[in-house]
Amino acid sequence: MTMWDMIVLWIGGAMTLMIFSFLYKDNPFYKFAEHLFVGVSAAFWMVKAIQTTMIPNMWAAIWPKSVTGILHAAQHTEPNYVRLIPLGLGLLLLSRLMPRIAWLSRWAMAVLIGFTSGTYLVRYLQSDFIAQIRSTLIPLVVVTPQGLDVIQSLLNCVLVFGVLCALMYFFFSLEHRGVVGGISRAGIWVLMVAFGASFGYTVMARISLLIGRIDYLGEWLQSFGKIL
Protein backbone atom coordinates (compact mmCIF):
# COMPACT_ATOMS: atom_id res chain seq x y z
CA MET A 1 0.00 0.00 0.00
CA THR A 2 1.57 3.29 -1.06
CA MET A 3 1.37 6.41 1.06
CA TRP A 4 -1.23 7.82 -1.29
CA ASP A 5 -3.41 4.73 -1.01
CA MET A 6 -3.21 5.13 2.74
CA ILE A 7 -4.20 8.80 2.69
CA VAL A 8 -7.09 8.08 0.33
CA LEU A 9 -8.27 5.30 2.63
CA TRP A 10 -8.13 7.57 5.69
CA ILE A 11 -10.08 10.32 4.04
CA GLY A 12 -12.59 7.79 2.73
CA GLY A 13 -13.09 6.26 6.16
CA ALA A 14 -13.53 9.67 7.74
CA MET A 15 -16.06 10.68 5.06
CA THR A 16 -18.00 7.46 5.63
CA LEU A 17 -18.24 8.13 9.37
CA MET A 18 -19.28 11.74 8.76
CA ILE A 19 -22.13 10.59 6.52
CA PHE A 20 -23.22 7.95 9.04
CA SER A 21 -23.27 10.57 11.81
CA PHE A 22 -26.44 11.95 10.20
CA LEU A 23 -28.32 8.91 11.47
CA TYR A 24 -27.85 10.17 15.01
CA LYS A 25 -28.78 13.70 14.06
CA ASP A 26 -27.78 16.54 11.77
CA ASN A 27 -24.36 17.85 12.81
CA PRO A 28 -21.38 19.87 11.52
CA PHE A 29 -19.52 16.78 10.32
CA TYR A 30 -22.41 15.65 8.16
CA LYS A 31 -22.86 19.17 6.87
CA PHE A 32 -19.22 19.28 5.88
CA ALA A 33 -19.32 15.93 4.07
CA GLU A 34 -22.61 16.78 2.38
CA HIS A 35 -21.41 20.13 1.04
CA LEU A 36 -18.09 18.74 -0.09
CA PHE A 37 -19.76 15.80 -1.83
CA VAL A 38 -22.20 18.10 -3.64
CA GLY A 39 -19.39 20.28 -4.98
CA VAL A 40 -17.07 17.45 -5.93
CA SER A 41 -19.76 15.31 -7.56
CA ALA A 42 -21.22 18.17 -9.60
CA ALA A 43 -17.76 18.80 -11.02
CA PHE A 44 -17.14 15.08 -11.51
CA TRP A 45 -20.10 14.69 -13.85
CA MET A 46 -19.30 17.93 -15.60
CA VAL A 47 -15.74 16.75 -16.33
CA LYS A 48 -17.09 13.36 -17.45
CA ALA A 49 -19.55 15.05 -19.81
CA ILE A 50 -16.80 17.11 -21.40
CA GLN A 51 -14.30 14.27 -21.67
CA THR A 52 -16.53 11.40 -22.69
CA THR A 53 -19.23 13.17 -24.69
CA MET A 54 -18.47 16.71 -25.73
CA ILE A 55 -14.93 16.07 -26.98
CA PRO A 56 -15.21 12.63 -28.61
CA ASN A 57 -18.81 12.79 -29.85
CA MET A 58 -19.09 16.42 -30.86
CA TRP A 59 -15.74 18.13 -31.24
CA ALA A 60 -13.88 15.14 -32.68
CA ALA A 61 -16.81 14.22 -34.90
CA ILE A 62 -17.04 17.66 -36.47
CA TRP A 63 -13.34 18.38 -36.60
CA PRO A 64 -11.38 15.14 -36.37
CA LYS A 65 -8.08 16.64 -37.54
CA SER A 66 -7.85 18.86 -34.49
CA VAL A 67 -7.56 15.95 -32.11
CA THR A 68 -5.27 13.67 -34.14
CA GLY A 69 -2.64 12.27 -31.85
CA ILE A 70 -4.63 13.12 -28.75
CA LEU A 71 -7.78 11.17 -29.27
CA HIS A 72 -7.17 7.81 -30.89
CA ALA A 73 -10.79 7.35 -31.84
CA ALA A 74 -10.71 10.34 -34.14
CA GLN A 75 -7.77 9.35 -36.28
CA HIS A 76 -8.40 8.97 -40.00
CA THR A 77 -12.12 9.56 -39.79
CA GLU A 78 -14.20 11.82 -41.97
CA PRO A 79 -15.96 14.78 -40.36
CA ASN A 80 -19.52 13.99 -39.32
CA TYR A 81 -21.38 17.23 -39.96
CA VAL A 82 -24.65 15.88 -38.57
CA ARG A 83 -23.19 16.67 -35.16
CA LEU A 84 -23.44 20.36 -35.99
CA ILE A 85 -27.13 19.99 -35.11
CA PRO A 86 -26.59 19.25 -31.41
CA LEU A 87 -23.98 22.00 -31.38
CA GLY A 88 -26.61 24.41 -32.69
CA LEU A 89 -29.21 23.15 -30.24
CA GLY A 90 -26.69 23.49 -27.43
CA LEU A 91 -26.07 27.12 -28.34
CA LEU A 92 -29.84 27.71 -28.42
CA LEU A 93 -30.04 26.24 -24.93
CA LEU A 94 -27.36 28.63 -23.70
CA SER A 95 -29.49 31.56 -24.83
CA ARG A 96 -31.03 31.25 -21.36
CA LEU A 97 -28.02 33.14 -20.08
CA MET A 98 -29.23 36.23 -21.99
CA PRO A 99 -32.73 37.15 -20.78
CA ARG A 100 -33.65 38.98 -23.99
CA ILE A 101 -33.32 35.92 -26.19
CA ALA A 102 -33.92 33.32 -23.48
CA TRP A 103 -37.07 32.13 -25.25
CA LEU A 104 -34.89 30.58 -27.95
CA SER A 105 -33.87 27.90 -25.48
CA ARG A 106 -37.41 26.54 -25.67
CA TRP A 107 -36.69 25.39 -29.21
CA ALA A 108 -33.92 23.10 -27.98
CA MET A 109 -36.15 21.88 -25.16
CA ALA A 110 -38.93 21.23 -27.64
CA VAL A 111 -36.67 18.90 -29.63
CA LEU A 112 -35.83 16.98 -26.47
CA ILE A 113 -39.43 16.75 -25.32
CA GLY A 114 -40.58 15.67 -28.78
CA PHE A 115 -37.87 13.00 -28.85
CA THR A 116 -38.75 11.74 -25.37
CA SER A 117 -42.48 11.56 -26.01
CA GLY A 118 -42.14 9.95 -29.43
CA THR A 119 -39.71 7.25 -28.37
CA TYR A 120 -41.47 6.55 -25.08
CA LEU A 121 -44.83 6.19 -26.77
CA VAL A 122 -43.80 3.30 -29.00
CA ARG A 123 -41.31 1.75 -26.61
CA TYR A 124 -43.86 1.35 -23.85
CA LEU A 125 -46.56 0.29 -26.25
CA GLN A 126 -44.32 -2.60 -27.28
CA SER A 127 -42.49 -3.69 -24.17
CA ASP A 128 -45.08 -2.98 -21.51
CA PHE A 129 -48.51 -2.92 -23.10
CA ILE A 130 -48.35 -5.59 -25.78
CA ALA A 131 -45.70 -7.81 -24.19
CA GLN A 132 -47.42 -7.86 -20.80
CA ILE A 133 -50.79 -8.74 -22.29
CA ARG A 134 -49.12 -11.45 -24.35
CA SER A 135 -47.61 -13.03 -21.23
CA THR A 136 -51.02 -13.16 -19.53
CA LEU A 137 -52.73 -15.21 -22.24
CA ILE A 138 -52.49 -18.49 -20.34
CA PRO A 139 -55.01 -21.32 -19.72
CA LEU A 140 -56.96 -21.13 -16.47
CA VAL A 141 -56.83 -24.90 -16.04
CA VAL A 142 -53.73 -26.99 -16.45
CA VAL A 143 -54.19 -30.59 -17.57
CA THR A 144 -51.23 -32.93 -17.31
CA PRO A 145 -51.12 -36.57 -18.47
CA GLN A 146 -51.87 -37.47 -14.81
CA GLY A 147 -55.03 -35.39 -14.89
CA LEU A 148 -56.01 -31.95 -13.67
CA ASP A 149 -53.21 -30.09 -11.86
CA VAL A 150 -55.33 -28.32 -9.24
CA ILE A 151 -52.61 -26.21 -7.65
CA GLN A 152 -51.13 -25.00 -10.93
CA SER A 153 -54.63 -24.21 -12.22
CA LEU A 154 -55.33 -22.16 -9.10
CA LEU A 155 -52.05 -20.29 -9.50
CA ASN A 156 -52.83 -19.48 -13.12
CA CYS A 157 -56.25 -18.19 -12.06
CA VAL A 158 -54.57 -16.00 -9.43
CA LEU A 159 -52.36 -14.54 -12.13
CA VAL A 160 -55.09 -13.87 -14.71
CA PHE A 161 -57.76 -12.61 -12.31
CA GLY A 162 -55.12 -10.72 -10.35
CA VAL A 163 -54.15 -8.74 -13.43
CA LEU A 164 -57.81 -8.10 -14.31
CA CYS A 165 -58.77 -6.90 -10.81
CA ALA A 166 -55.73 -4.69 -10.43
CA LEU A 167 -56.41 -3.15 -13.85
CA MET A 168 -59.94 -2.42 -12.68
CA TYR A 169 -58.47 -0.44 -9.79
CA PHE A 170 -56.83 1.92 -12.27
CA PHE A 171 -60.05 2.79 -14.13
CA PHE A 172 -60.58 6.54 -13.94
CA SER A 173 -64.10 6.78 -15.34
CA LEU A 174 -65.74 4.55 -12.76
CA GLU A 175 -66.26 5.42 -9.10
CA HIS A 176 -65.19 2.58 -6.82
CA ARG A 177 -68.70 1.56 -5.77
CA GLY A 178 -70.80 -1.61 -6.05
CA VAL A 179 -69.39 -4.40 -8.22
CA VAL A 180 -66.63 -2.17 -9.55
CA GLY A 181 -65.74 -1.28 -5.97
CA GLY A 182 -65.56 -4.95 -5.02
CA ILE A 183 -63.35 -5.89 -7.94
CA SER A 184 -61.04 -2.95 -7.50
CA ARG A 185 -60.77 -3.74 -3.80
CA ALA A 186 -59.53 -7.22 -4.77
CA GLY A 187 -57.21 -5.37 -7.14
CA ILE A 188 -55.76 -3.38 -4.25
CA TRP A 189 -55.09 -6.63 -2.39
CA VAL A 190 -53.15 -7.96 -5.36
CA LEU A 191 -51.15 -4.73 -5.48
CA MET A 192 -50.47 -5.00 -1.74
CA VAL A 193 -49.09 -8.53 -2.12
CA ALA A 194 -46.86 -7.28 -4.92
CA PHE A 195 -45.64 -4.35 -2.81
CA GLY A 196 -45.05 -6.48 0.26
CA ALA A 197 -43.18 -9.10 -1.75
CA SER A 198 -40.92 -6.68 -3.52
CA PHE A 199 -40.22 -4.75 -0.31
CA GLY A 200 -39.26 -7.97 1.45
CA TYR A 201 -37.12 -9.02 -1.47
CA THR A 202 -35.25 -5.72 -1.60
CA VAL A 203 -34.31 -5.69 2.07
CA MET A 204 -31.55 -8.15 1.33
CA ALA A 205 -29.86 -5.92 -1.22
CA ARG A 206 -29.93 -2.98 1.15
CA ILE A 207 -28.32 -4.93 3.96
CA SER A 208 -25.44 -6.02 1.69
CA LEU A 209 -24.61 -2.38 1.05
CA LEU A 210 -24.16 -1.77 4.75
CA ILE A 211 -22.04 -4.90 5.13
CA GLY A 212 -19.74 -3.60 2.43
CA ARG A 213 -19.39 -0.25 4.16
CA ILE A 214 -18.70 -1.75 7.56
CA ASP A 215 -16.12 -4.03 6.02
CA TYR A 216 -14.50 -0.94 4.51
CA LEU A 217 -14.46 0.75 7.90
CA GLY A 218 -12.80 -2.40 9.28
CA GLU A 219 -10.05 -2.06 6.70
CA TRP A 220 -9.78 1.59 7.67
CA LEU A 221 -9.36 0.71 11.34
CA GLN A 222 -6.74 -1.91 10.49
CA SER A 223 -4.71 0.70 8.65
CA PHE A 224 -4.31 2.54 11.95
CA GLY A 225 -2.98 -0.67 13.48
CA LYS A 226 -0.30 -0.84 10.80
CA ILE A 227 0.94 2.64 11.65
CA LEU A 228 1.00 2.29 15.42
Binding site: S198, Y201, A205, I207, S208, L209, L210, D215
Partner: protein, 283 residues
Protein backbone atom coordinates in the same frame (compact mmCIF):
# COMPACT_ATOMS: atom_id res chain seq x y z
CA UNK B 1 -44.39 -5.63 31.30
CA UNK B 2 -45.20 -1.96 31.54
CA UNK B 3 -41.60 -0.99 30.98
CA UNK B 4 -41.54 -3.10 27.82
CA UNK B 5 -44.79 -1.53 26.68
CA UNK B 6 -43.51 2.00 27.08
CA UNK B 7 -40.21 1.12 25.50
CA UNK B 8 -41.93 -0.26 22.41
CA UNK B 9 -44.38 2.58 22.13
CA UNK B 10 -41.72 5.26 22.30
CA UNK B 11 -39.01 3.36 20.45
CA UNK B 12 -36.54 5.85 19.03
CA UNK B 13 -35.52 5.10 15.46
CA UNK B 14 -31.90 5.40 16.53
CA UNK B 15 -32.23 2.27 18.65
CA UNK B 16 -33.35 0.43 15.52
CA UNK B 17 -30.36 1.82 13.65
CA UNK B 18 -28.02 0.63 16.40
CA UNK B 19 -29.58 -2.84 16.36
CA UNK B 20 -28.98 -3.19 12.63
CA UNK B 21 -25.44 -1.89 12.90
CA UNK B 22 -24.65 -4.48 15.58
CA UNK B 23 -26.42 -7.25 13.67
CA UNK B 24 -24.08 -6.60 10.76
CA UNK B 25 -20.85 -5.84 12.62
CA UNK B 26 -20.71 -8.69 15.12
CA UNK B 27 -21.05 -11.59 12.62
CA UNK B 28 -18.60 -9.80 10.32
CA UNK B 29 -15.99 -9.59 13.07
CA UNK B 30 -16.62 -13.20 14.08
CA UNK B 31 -16.41 -14.37 10.44
CA UNK B 32 -19.72 -16.15 10.71
CA UNK B 33 -20.25 -17.72 7.27
CA UNK B 34 -23.37 -19.42 5.96
CA UNK B 35 -23.08 -22.51 3.75
CA UNK B 36 -25.27 -22.32 0.65
CA UNK B 37 -26.27 -24.78 -2.01
CA UNK B 38 -26.27 -23.35 -5.55
CA UNK B 39 -29.81 -22.86 -6.83
CA UNK B 40 -30.62 -24.09 -10.36
CA UNK B 41 -30.44 -20.62 -11.95
CA UNK B 42 -26.90 -20.13 -10.58
CA UNK B 43 -25.73 -23.66 -11.31
CA UNK B 44 -26.93 -23.32 -14.89
CA UNK B 45 -24.66 -20.32 -15.48
CA UNK B 46 -21.75 -22.14 -13.85
CA UNK B 47 -22.33 -25.12 -16.13
CA UNK B 48 -22.58 -22.88 -19.19
CA UNK B 49 -19.11 -21.49 -18.41
CA UNK B 50 -17.79 -24.98 -17.80
CA UNK B 51 -19.12 -26.11 -21.16
CA UNK B 52 -17.23 -23.46 -23.16
CA UNK B 53 -14.16 -24.86 -24.92
CA UNK B 54 -10.80 -23.44 -23.68
CA UNK B 55 -9.63 -20.15 -25.23
CA UNK B 56 -13.23 -18.99 -25.67
CA UNK B 57 -13.69 -15.25 -25.99
CA UNK B 58 -15.79 -13.84 -23.17
CA UNK B 59 -16.82 -10.25 -22.51
CA UNK B 60 -16.96 -9.24 -18.87
CA UNK B 61 -18.85 -5.98 -18.59
CA UNK B 62 -18.63 -3.91 -15.41
CA UNK B 63 -21.88 -1.99 -15.31
CA UNK B 64 -22.02 -0.90 -11.70
CA UNK B 65 -20.80 1.97 -9.58
CA UNK B 66 -19.17 2.15 -6.18
CA UNK B 67 -22.53 2.12 -4.40
CA UNK B 68 -23.24 -1.55 -5.13
CA UNK B 69 -19.66 -2.79 -4.78
CA UNK B 70 -20.39 -5.24 -1.95
CA UNK B 71 -22.94 -7.09 -4.04
CA UNK B 72 -21.27 -6.88 -7.44
CA UNK B 73 -17.54 -7.18 -6.71
CA UNK B 74 -17.66 -10.80 -5.47
CA UNK B 75 -19.52 -11.73 -8.67
CA UNK B 76 -16.90 -10.14 -10.92
CA UNK B 77 -14.14 -11.77 -8.87
CA UNK B 78 -15.74 -15.20 -9.14
CA UNK B 79 -16.23 -14.85 -12.89
CA UNK B 80 -12.62 -13.74 -13.38
CA UNK B 81 -11.34 -16.72 -11.35
CA UNK B 82 -13.54 -19.17 -13.19
CA UNK B 83 -12.71 -17.85 -16.66
CA UNK B 84 -8.95 -17.75 -16.13
CA UNK B 85 -8.86 -21.20 -14.52
CA UNK B 86 -10.65 -22.54 -17.58
CA UNK B 87 -8.08 -20.73 -19.81
CA UNK B 88 -10.64 -18.47 -21.45
CA UNK B 89 -9.85 -15.00 -22.76
CA UNK B 90 -11.47 -12.11 -20.90
CA UNK B 91 -12.38 -8.83 -22.56
CA UNK B 92 -13.19 -6.35 -19.82
CA UNK B 93 -15.29 -3.30 -20.55
CA UNK B 94 -17.73 -0.96 -18.83
CA UNK B 95 -20.95 0.70 -19.93
CA UNK B 96 -20.91 2.75 -16.73
CA UNK B 97 -18.39 5.57 -16.26
CA UNK B 98 -18.07 4.54 -12.63
CA UNK B 99 -17.57 0.90 -13.65
CA UNK B 100 -14.05 1.54 -14.95
CA UNK B 101 -12.66 1.73 -11.43
CA UNK B 102 -14.23 -1.59 -10.50
CA UNK B 103 -12.68 -3.16 -13.58
CA UNK B 104 -9.23 -2.07 -12.38
CA UNK B 105 -10.03 -3.35 -8.96
CA UNK B 106 -10.72 -6.83 -10.33
CA UNK B 107 -7.45 -6.83 -12.25
CA UNK B 108 -5.49 -5.70 -9.19
CA UNK B 109 -7.21 -7.86 -6.61
CA UNK B 110 -7.78 -11.08 -8.50
CA UNK B 111 -5.94 -11.39 -11.79
CA UNK B 112 -2.57 -9.92 -10.83
CA UNK B 113 -2.55 -11.48 -7.36
CA UNK B 114 -3.92 -14.94 -8.00
CA UNK B 115 -2.96 -15.49 -11.64
CA UNK B 116 0.58 -14.07 -12.01
CA UNK B 117 1.15 -16.34 -15.01
CA UNK B 118 -1.59 -14.76 -17.14
CA UNK B 119 -0.38 -12.28 -19.76
CA UNK B 120 -2.05 -8.96 -20.48
CA UNK B 121 -3.19 -8.76 -24.07
CA UNK B 122 -3.15 -12.55 -24.47
CA UNK B 123 -5.36 -13.79 -21.65
CA UNK B 124 -7.14 -10.63 -20.63
CA UNK B 125 -7.52 -7.10 -21.90
CA UNK B 126 -8.90 -3.93 -20.35
CA UNK B 127 -11.04 -2.18 -22.94
CA UNK B 128 -12.36 0.32 -20.43
CA UNK B 129 -15.36 2.61 -20.43
CA UNK B 130 -17.05 4.12 -23.46
CA UNK B 131 -20.02 6.47 -23.34
CA UNK B 132 -23.26 5.65 -25.13
CA UNK B 133 -25.04 3.17 -22.85
CA UNK B 134 -27.09 0.63 -24.81
CA UNK B 135 -26.31 2.59 -27.97
CA UNK B 136 -22.72 1.43 -27.52
CA UNK B 137 -23.83 -2.22 -27.69
CA UNK B 138 -25.58 -1.38 -30.94
CA UNK B 139 -22.45 0.17 -32.36
CA UNK B 140 -20.23 -2.70 -31.25
CA UNK B 141 -22.43 -4.97 -33.29
CA UNK B 142 -21.45 -3.19 -36.45
CA UNK B 143 -17.85 -2.30 -35.78
CA UNK B 144 -16.08 -3.31 -32.60
CA UNK B 145 -12.68 -1.85 -33.30
CA UNK B 146 -14.16 1.35 -34.68
CA UNK B 147 -15.44 2.04 -31.18
CA UNK B 148 -12.49 0.63 -29.29
CA UNK B 149 -9.55 1.96 -31.26
CA UNK B 150 -7.30 1.58 -28.23
CA UNK B 151 -7.40 -0.40 -25.02
CA UNK B 152 -7.77 1.23 -21.62
CA UNK B 153 -4.06 2.05 -21.51
CA UNK B 154 -4.07 3.83 -24.87
CA UNK B 155 -2.35 0.99 -26.78
CA UNK B 156 -3.51 0.65 -30.39
CA UNK B 157 -6.11 -2.08 -30.50
CA UNK B 158 -4.44 -3.83 -33.44
CA UNK B 159 -1.28 -4.32 -31.40
CA UNK B 160 -3.11 -6.48 -28.90
CA UNK B 161 -2.83 -10.18 -29.80
CA UNK B 162 -6.19 -11.29 -28.42
CA UNK B 163 -8.02 -8.62 -30.47
CA UNK B 164 -6.78 -10.01 -33.81
CA UNK B 165 -9.85 -12.04 -34.70
CA UNK B 166 -12.47 -9.65 -33.33
CA UNK B 167 -14.54 -7.57 -35.72
CA UNK B 168 -18.02 -7.48 -34.27
CA UNK B 169 -19.81 -8.46 -31.11
CA UNK B 170 -20.84 -11.70 -32.82
CA UNK B 171 -17.26 -12.97 -32.59
CA UNK B 172 -17.64 -13.50 -28.86
CA UNK B 173 -18.66 -16.81 -27.33
CA UNK B 174 -20.34 -15.37 -24.29
CA UNK B 175 -21.14 -12.09 -22.59
CA UNK B 176 -21.11 -11.84 -18.82
CA UNK B 177 -22.64 -8.75 -17.32
CA UNK B 178 -22.08 -7.67 -13.76
CA UNK B 179 -24.57 -4.91 -13.27
CA UNK B 180 -26.83 -2.96 -11.00
CA UNK B 181 -29.24 -1.10 -13.23
CA UNK B 182 -29.66 0.45 -16.63
CA UNK B 183 -27.81 -0.16 -18.87
CA UNK B 184 -27.20 -3.68 -17.64
CA UNK B 185 -28.21 -7.27 -18.18
CA UNK B 186 -31.58 -6.38 -19.69
CA UNK B 187 -29.94 -4.17 -22.32
CA UNK B 188 -27.31 -6.81 -23.08
CA UNK B 189 -30.14 -9.27 -23.64
CA UNK B 190 -32.19 -6.94 -25.81
CA UNK B 191 -29.41 -5.44 -27.88
CA UNK B 192 -26.85 -8.26 -28.08
CA UNK B 193 -28.21 -11.62 -26.91
CA UNK B 194 -31.52 -11.60 -28.77
CA UNK B 195 -30.04 -10.02 -31.84
CA UNK B 196 -26.82 -11.93 -32.32
CA UNK B 197 -27.75 -15.12 -30.49
CA UNK B 198 -24.81 -14.69 -28.11
CA UNK B 199 -25.22 -16.45 -24.75
CA UNK B 200 -25.67 -13.94 -21.93
CA UNK B 201 -24.97 -14.50 -18.27
CA UNK B 202 -26.12 -11.99 -15.69
CA UNK B 203 -24.91 -11.11 -12.23
CA UNK B 204 -26.95 -8.35 -10.68
CA UNK B 205 -28.07 -6.85 -7.40
CA UNK B 206 -31.02 -8.48 -5.67
CA UNK B 207 -33.30 -5.60 -6.67
CA UNK B 208 -32.50 -6.00 -10.34
CA UNK B 209 -32.75 -9.79 -10.21
CA UNK B 210 -36.46 -9.58 -9.55
CA UNK B 211 -36.97 -8.01 -12.98
CA UNK B 212 -34.77 -10.50 -14.82
CA UNK B 213 -36.27 -13.85 -13.82
CA UNK B 214 -38.67 -13.75 -16.80
CA UNK B 215 -35.72 -13.91 -19.23
CA UNK B 216 -34.37 -17.17 -17.81
CA UNK B 217 -33.69 -19.74 -19.27
CA UNK B 218 -34.42 -18.74 -22.86
CA UNK B 219 -32.66 -15.40 -23.19
CA UNK B 220 -30.43 -15.67 -20.17
CA UNK B 221 -28.11 -18.63 -19.46
CA UNK B 222 -28.24 -18.02 -15.74
CA UNK B 223 -28.40 -15.33 -13.13
CA UNK B 224 -26.66 -14.47 -9.88
CA UNK B 225 -29.11 -12.43 -7.83
CA UNK B 226 -27.54 -10.34 -5.11
CA UNK B 227 -25.14 -11.49 -2.47
CA UNK B 228 -26.90 -14.82 -2.15
CA UNK B 229 -26.42 -15.59 -5.84
CA UNK B 230 -22.76 -14.61 -5.57
CA UNK B 231 -22.26 -16.83 -2.54
CA UNK B 232 -23.92 -19.75 -4.32
CA UNK B 233 -21.62 -19.28 -7.31
CA UNK B 234 -18.63 -19.28 -4.98
CA UNK B 235 -19.83 -22.58 -3.53
CA UNK B 236 -20.09 -24.08 -7.00
CA UNK B 237 -16.64 -22.77 -7.94
CA UNK B 238 -14.96 -23.99 -4.77
CA UNK B 239 -16.48 -27.44 -4.95
CA UNK B 240 -15.06 -27.88 -8.47
CA UNK B 241 -11.79 -26.01 -7.93
CA UNK B 242 -10.83 -26.37 -4.25
CA UNK B 243 -7.79 -24.09 -4.72
CA UNK B 244 -10.14 -21.12 -4.24
CA UNK B 245 -11.21 -22.43 -0.84
CA UNK B 246 -9.37 -19.67 1.01
CA UNK B 247 -9.32 -16.74 -1.42
CA UNK B 248 -12.71 -17.07 -3.08
CA UNK B 249 -15.20 -16.58 -0.27
CA UNK B 250 -16.00 -12.84 -0.35
CA UNK B 251 -19.74 -13.26 -0.73
CA UNK B 252 -19.98 -16.16 1.70
CA UNK B 253 -18.34 -14.12 4.45
CA UNK B 254 -20.90 -11.37 3.76
CA UNK B 255 -23.80 -13.82 3.96
CA UNK B 256 -23.40 -14.33 7.72
CA UNK B 257 -24.19 -10.74 8.68
CA UNK B 258 -26.87 -10.79 6.01
CA UNK B 259 -28.72 -13.68 7.64
CA UNK B 260 -28.45 -12.19 11.12
CA UNK B 261 -29.66 -8.78 9.94
CA UNK B 262 -32.60 -10.42 8.23
CA UNK B 263 -33.63 -12.10 11.45
CA UNK B 264 -33.35 -8.77 13.27
CA UNK B 265 -35.64 -7.15 10.70
CA UNK B 266 -38.16 -9.97 11.07
CA UNK B 267 -38.04 -9.38 14.80
CA UNK B 268 -38.61 -5.67 14.23
CA UNK B 269 -41.70 -6.39 12.15
CA UNK B 270 -43.06 -8.57 14.95
CA UNK B 271 -42.21 -5.97 17.61
CA UNK B 272 -43.80 -3.27 15.50
CA UNK B 273 -47.06 -5.20 15.49
CA UNK B 274 -46.85 -5.99 19.19
CA UNK B 275 -46.41 -2.30 19.95
CA UNK B 276 -49.29 -1.42 17.63
CA UNK B 277 -51.68 -3.79 19.41
CA UNK B 278 -50.47 -2.76 22.85
CA UNK B 279 -50.98 0.89 21.93
CA UNK B 280 -54.46 0.19 20.61
CA UNK B 281 -55.55 -1.63 23.72
CA UNK B 282 -54.43 1.27 25.89
CA UNK B 283 -56.68 3.66 24.03
Amino acid sequence: MNILKNFLLQLDRRIIYAAIALAVTIPLVLHFAVPLKPSPIVQSLFDALEALPPKSKVILSFDYGPSTLPENDPMAFAFARHLLTRNHRIYMMALWATGARNLDHTIEQVIEKEFPGKVYGVDYVKLGYKAGDEGLINTLFKDFKGMYTTDGHGTNINDIPMMKDITTLEDFDMILNVGSGRPGTKEWIQYAGDRGNIPIGGAVTAVEALLLYPYYPRQLKGLLGGLQGAAEYETALISKYPQFGTTGRQAQVYMGPQAVAHCVILLLVILGNVSYFLGRRRK
